[in-house]
Symmetry: C2
Subunit: 92 residues, 2 copies
């Protein structure tokens, strides 16, 4: 029985739960009024930041952290998802 290497990619790498924190401060040139919609504000600012630094955007502070936590501290929903992921791997 032959199987391609694609079918045998290592899929048994362990998964974990991470506490993540992103803290960004930057200055942005924008049209007045464009940032008034609170519902769209986060998406607009993340899009602007993703475009990178240039004459329109100057980063002031960029802080990012990811820390693995105990699964016991995760929500029941996340723990169920971890079980699902591991079961599907055991079956593969």
């Amino acid at each position: 029985m032959k199987s391609s290497s694609l079918e045998h990619q290592p899929i048994n790498s362990e998964v974990g739960v991470y506490d993540c924190e992103i803290h960004l401060k930057f200055r942005l040139i924008e049209e007045k009024g464009a940032l008034r919609d609170r519902d769209q504000l986060l998406e607009m600012l993340l899009d602007a930041f993703a475009c990178g630094s240039d004459e329109y955007l100057e980063p002031v502070q960029v802080q990012v952290e990811a820390q693995e936590i105990s699964e016991m501290d995760a929500s029941p929903q996340m723990r169920r998802q971890l079980i699902r992921l591991r079961n599907s791997r055991d079956l593969a």
Copy 2:
């Protein structure tokens, strides 16, 4: 003479400089080792967050602010860009 409101969107809106702050905390299920590369960490976490909440990601805190500041507090580079933008509008 009738004209649609779409044709009369104001295109000469003023631009300003904004102090922006984004503070995100969330929990993420991820493969162990995937978040080890510090250079890629911010991009990976922003991509994950942009995918939205589901069984893999739970927002803990989402804080976003944009506050207009005086142009005099902006950097010389930004002030030059503002002048450029206004000049190009005056010519249009």
